[in-house]
């Protein structure tokens, strides 16, 4: 039997030592009324060759970003993946281990996470980062919940509508069972409407949630956020950001963020149809005992050697149970490893270069598209690697027409934002060449 090493002879000998006749006897504790006697309706098993052929067939039905030139972003980005990353995450010792409950035989995993925490702290400018959350959207939700733990009173969460719509949807879903108000502040000219925000934030506000660069790729008026949340002692500023942007854009710690979260996928993880990705989560040191999820700390062994352990575990569900800071247990450890290897390879210079190339190429593309008849940049505001193009026809049409030329032109904002049917969100990473950008521009022009 596949992947089961026991032979019939083994089974016979083991049953004999147990003093039972058949394997079926071992299931005798299942009462007959709940014993399943039918046949499971799942196809017969396959040999390895048949299996590979079958699944390759499914994979082959997909049209991928390898064949189609990808200008689609909206929260998941086609950045360069150095070959060494996948080799490292393919090390069996890493990927066939689990939560490092026994630190003496888990120093690999533990040290990797310690390095990951350091890198995320460095990128965001915060004191302490955890070992990962499920993804960017759930990380933001956990940040809102943590803000609630950091304050004794208040029940209002204020979120800008320039935050990724799916992040806001997760927030809404999770907050439903709580007696908190979730107030969404409208967007004005692509960024948070500061008048509306000022009106929304009050003494009762636990957290103000923003994204920078925001869902439309634009930089938010961060100083105004800082000033506003500074006025209200309870209001924690939560910032979601693209980690690549932090190679060139100032870290959220410098504009008063209390909690910084984000989607870590751009750091060495493939697009993979939306997962597995990883959320990163960082905060100030004073908040550390209110943080969700695993945190690794440095210590020494009995011989004085440096080692790493899970620390402040009393925050977590396996110890604090119903009073834990979160229910998270299994996280995205291997994706955090990918991010750590990626950031090691790129280093300070490489991350800056990736960020600057993305920035330069996005601006080149934006300028060229803006010059085309039938298209214009919707916002005249600073952006990083993503921008909104207003088309004179539905963006859905533009996207589907350009597929004929093997181009994924961008994300049709009408899918998620009311009244933006003609708006196309275009992302340009360092992977796109001038030739590919020029081809996009030419095909857009051809449509108009």
């Amino acid at each position: 039997m596949k992947y089961i090493p026991n032979t019939d002879e083994d089974r016979r000998a083991m049953l004999e030592s147990l003093g039972v006749e058949s394997i079926d006897d071992l299931f005798a504790s299942i009462p007959e009324e709940v014993r399943f006697r039918g046949d499971i309706d799942i196809p017969e098993g396959m040999s390895e060759m048949e299996l590979a052929k079958h699944i390759e067939g499914l994979a082959g039905k997909n049209l991928t970003t390898e064949e189609y030139c990808c200008f689609m972003g909206a929260g998941a980005y086609d950045h360069f993946l150095p070959a060494a990353v996948d080799h490292m995450v393919s090390r069996e010792e890493f990927y066939t281990a689990y939560t490092p409950y026994q630190p003496e035989v888990s120093q690999g995993t533990l040290q990797v996470i310690f390095e990951f925490q350091t890198m995320i702290s460095e990128l965001t400018g915060m004191d302490v980062a955890n070992a990962s959350m499920y993804d960017g959207g759930t990380a933001m939700m956990e940040a809102a919940l943590m803000a609630g733990r950091l304050t004794r009173r208040g029940e209002r969460i204020v979120v800008s509508s320039s935050v990724h719509p799916q992040y806001r949807e997760i927030l809404k879903t999770y907050l439903h069972g709580r007696e908190w108000d979730l107030v969404e502040v409208p967007v004005s000219d692509g960024v948070t409407d500061m008048d509306a925000l000022t009106e929304a934030v009050n003494d009762d506000t636990i957290a103000v949630l923003m994204q920078n660069p925001n869902f439309f790729g634009l930089l938010e008026p961060v100083e105004e956020f800082q000033q506003l949340t500074g006025e209200f002692r309870n209001a924690h500023l939560v910032v979601a950001c693209d980690p690549i942007s932090l190679g060139v854009i100032r870290p959220p710690a410098t504009y008063g963020a209390d909690i910084v979260v984000g989607e870590g996928q751009p750091l060495g993880n493939p697009l993979s149809f939306g997962g597995p990705y990883l959320g990163f989560f960082a905060a100030g040191s004073r908040a550390v005992r209110r943080m969700p999820a695993r945190i690794i700390g440095q210590t020494e062994d009995v011989d004085g050697r440096r080692g790493f352990v899970m620390t402040m575990q009393t925050r977590e569900q396996h110890i604090r149970r119903e009073r834990a800071t979160s229910n998270i247990c299994t996280n995205e450890g291997l994706n955090a490893l990918a991010a750590t290897v990626y950031l090691s390879l790129m280093g300070r210079q490489g991350l800056r270069e990736v960020a600057e190339q993305s920035l330069q190429k996005a601006h080149y593309a934006a300028q060229r598209i803006d010059e085309l008849p039938g298209y214009r940049l919707k916002y005249d505001r600073p952006f990083f690697k993503e921008f909104v193009v207003e088309c004179d026809r539905p963006a859905a049409e533009v996207v589907s027409s350009l597929l004929e030329h093997k181009i994924l032109a961008g994300f049709d904002l009408g899918r998620m934002v009311d009244g933006m049917d003609n708006s196309l969100l275009v992302a340009v990473t360092e992977k796109r060449t001038k030739e590919e950008i020029d081809e996009l521009v030419a095909r857009l022009e051809g449509l108009a």
Binding site: E104, V112, M119, Y134, R306, R320, I328, L334, Q357
Partner: protein, 500 residues
């Protein structure tokens, strides 16, 4: 928090990647910028630019590779040796599954690509869901949750939505004292308060205690069956009836589903919601803590509340169904851990119905073989045939020889074996929770038995030595109290100056 690392004074197994850094060294190559280069401050406001680079390491590719390979060698994984971590189902992860998940037809897919470009991916998600429905004995599924605890909270949000749709506001969730910590944490995160019920003398849910706390304020019961003691609850039908009678729902924590595949279905037991851990039962590797996948399967009455989108099939095309007005919303930014789901799909298709049943059979056989072989050496609280796992107690070793379960666990490390789950479930003193899985041979079980018996002997004869264990591991026992008292949770550059 702000303490500096004093690495010069203590010995180090492997330097941190930052300590290997050398200014100017590079581990990457990118093409020259091929578009006209603009000044940064022409593209971005000067006050938004980063002033100081993050302190990332400057290392070459070979430095990086050697560093992470050396780190990997400090780990124990299923592929290095036996890993009987109870409730975690550390089974072998077939290699072909890894290859399948790495096909570019899957990895190079953007989540927002038009559906006509992703039919293969959608079909795979849809069919995986179909198989899970079959194994759960329930009719509807979502593949969105990415971990067991994520499935749990999604499930509890469905419970709330269901009761709200009936105009009811219920506040209590019942959880047995043997439950995983995620259960109570989940219930509270979902806005409920928890009520604990004890186990009876057989390790099953105490029905009298249950009866006493049942009222129309009970939203749900969260249960694993088999329990964390590895025992199949004899009264499961009755329990389900009792909960349903007061209008509550039953949530099945699938951490222990490896025991029952093809032998018993949670839906038939009376459960309304089931999560499966694809990284446990369905062989997706555990990744050093994740990623996992925790899809949930639900009964008809909960279907309309499932998170959007639901992957659907109209007989011709697969599609994402967002048109579900009663949905609770979203629990993950995209569609869950697709890459992990591929591995589970490959596993299910590789084994087929018969193979999956054989998994349960051999998992249960292996566990019983271990239990029978060890119960004369360690206390066994519930001496009856177990399912896929069982719980021993080190309380005799503790009382008679001062050797704790922690000592026993550390001693196993010196044999090259990963210890069982220790000190859990909480209802067993000095617990050792052992789950061998079906992918271990009789030989590897015998090696474990031999090691455990030797350790029991050492506990009698030289208990002092066990307090010293482990001695053959990359590091020895670590000072966790120090780590928690003065948390050092990141590296600081050498020239880092404290500002306070």
């Amino acid at each position: 928090m702000t303490e500096q690392n004093e690495i010069k004074d203590i010995s180090v197994v492997e330097p941190l990647i930052f300590e290997l850094s050398s200014p100017g060294r590079r581990g990457y190559s990118l093409p020259e910028l091929d578009v006209p280069q603009e000044e940064l401050d022409a593209l971005l406001p000067a006050d938004m630019l980063r002033e100081e680079d993050p302190q990332l390491p400057e290392v070459s590719e070979v430095d990086v590779v050697r560093h992470f390979v050396r780190l990997s060698q400090l780990n124990h994984g299923v592929d290095t040796g036996f890993y009987p971590l109870g409730s975690c189902t550390m089974k072998y992860s077939p290699k072909v599954n890894e290859n399948m998940a790495r096909l570019s037809g899957f990895t190079a897919l953007h989540p927002y690509q038009p559906e006509n470009m992703t039919q293969g991916a959608l079909q795979l998600l849809y069919e995986t869901g179909e198989y899970l429905k079959e194994l759960a004995g329930l009719p509807e599924v979502t593949m969105q949750p990415v971990a067991g605890a994520h499935g749990e909270i999604t499930g509890m949000m469905l419970v709330r939505a269901y009761h709200e749709s009936l105009g009811e506001e219920r506040t209590k969730v019942i959880i047995p004292d043997s439950a995983h910590g995620t259960n109570p944490a989940t219930a509270v995160m979902a806005g409920y308060s928890t009520v604990e019920i004890p186990s009876n003398e057989n390790g099953d849910v105490d029905l009298d205690a249950l009866e006493e706390i049942l009222d129309d304020d009970v939203a749900a019961l969260m249960l694993t069956n088999p329990s964390t003691l590895g025992l199949y609850d004899q009264n499961i039908k009755e329990i389900a009836q009792m909960i349903h009678d007061v209008g509550g729902l039953l949530y099945y924590d699938g951490a222990n589903a490896n025991a029952i595949m093809g032998y018993s279905r949670p839906g038939d037991m009376g459960f309304d919601i089931v999560h499966f851990n694809l990284h446990k039962t369905f062989s997706a590797p555990h990744g050093g803590g994740g990623p996992g996948s925790g899809p949930i399967v639900v009964s008809d009455k909960l279907a309309k509340f499932l998170p959007v989108p639901v992957v659907s099939y109209d007989g011709e095309d697969y599609y994402m169904d967002y048109d579900r007005p009663d949905s609770i919303g979203k629990v993950h930014t995209f569609y869950g851990n697709f890459g992990v789901n591929i591995k589970a799909y490959a596993y299910i298709r590789s084994l087929g119905a018969e193979g999956l049943k054989a998994v349960a059979e051999n998992a249960v056989l292996n566990a019983n073989y271990l239990q029978e072989s060890l119960k004369d050496y360690y206390h066994l609280e519930f001496d009856r045939p177990c399912m896929h796992e069982f719980v021993l107690s080190g309380k005799n070793q503790k009382r008679e020889h001062g050797v704790s379960t922690l000592d026993i666990a550390k001693a196993l490390l010196d044999y090259g074996l990963h210890p069982p789950t220790v000190y859990f479930p909480l209802i067993i003193d000095e617990a050792l929770m052992i789950e061998p899985t079906e992918t271990e041979s009789r030989q590897s079980l015998d090696e474990f038995i031999e090691a455990m018996i030797e350790i029991a002997g050492d506990a009698e004869e030289e208990p002092e030595a066990l307090h010293e264990a482990p001695i053959n591991t990359p590091v020895r026992r670590l000072d966790e109290a120090q780590a928690a008292r003065n948390p050092v949770v990141r590296w600081y550059p050498e020239d880092y100056a404290e500002d306070d």
